[in-house]
Point group: C2
Chain length 125, copies 2
């Protein structure tokens, strides 16, 4: 599931210059796929969860460490994490009682690359 | 309105390294503000509109040029454009009959900077 979604955020586009938001008008299909990823980021709880995972040295966070930071039930937290996973931003693994989450390598940087304008890449002469 | 929202996406953070998603866990307030921006991007029509504007040479697009690309009424298109404007991504000006839209300078690159991981900035030794 994650792999399929990941392709959306630039992995399979043909080069760094292409498939950017500011390169050419997006087609329907790509817009629909990318909108799912941004929709996953369009919630404060999910952004905080993703930030907790992305900023963790070592790269992995146990769900048991995330839940206490929120005034929400563990099933609700797990649901938000599932949406981030379906968007191809994170992945997880169960080990014993707990589930551990990490950011999929390159996912955030590919999304950043999609938003970066061609102008931003220009080096002053 | 745009100016207020724009601060959200990095303009007022203290330096390039800080305030990134992967630098440290986001606080409630910043997560709520950034979620609004990503929510604005979390819709295929809005992503296509933003892409049409961002990819236009010269930087400005008349609403009259955007509407025919969609099977939607002009009020619906205008509503989507309003949400992008409220997110601090675009601005507009009425000239005679039509309203012209452009991407706010730096808005996309600041959002890209927020998503970029510290690792992505590292130059191999």
């Amino acid at each position: 599931m994650s792999k399929q979604e990941l392709a959306v955020i630039g992995q399979d586009t043909d080069g760094d210059c292409c498939g950017r938001l500011a390169s050419a008008p997006l087609d329907d299909e790509r817009a629909a796929e990318l909108a799912k990823v941004f929709k996953a980021l369009g919630d404060p709880v999910r952004l905080r969860l993703l930030s907790m995972i992305a900023s963790r040295e070592g790269g992995e966070v146990c769900v048991c460490e995330m839940t206490p930071a929120f005034d929400l039930s563990q099933p609700t937290i797990s649901h938000h994490l599932k949406l981030l996973r379906q968007a191809g931003l994170i992945d997880c693994e169960r080990r014993g009682t707990w589930v551990y989450y990490w950011v999929l390598p390159g996912a955030l940087d590919r999304l950043a690359g999609f938003l970066t304008t061609p102008q931003a890449g220009q080096v002053p002469a």
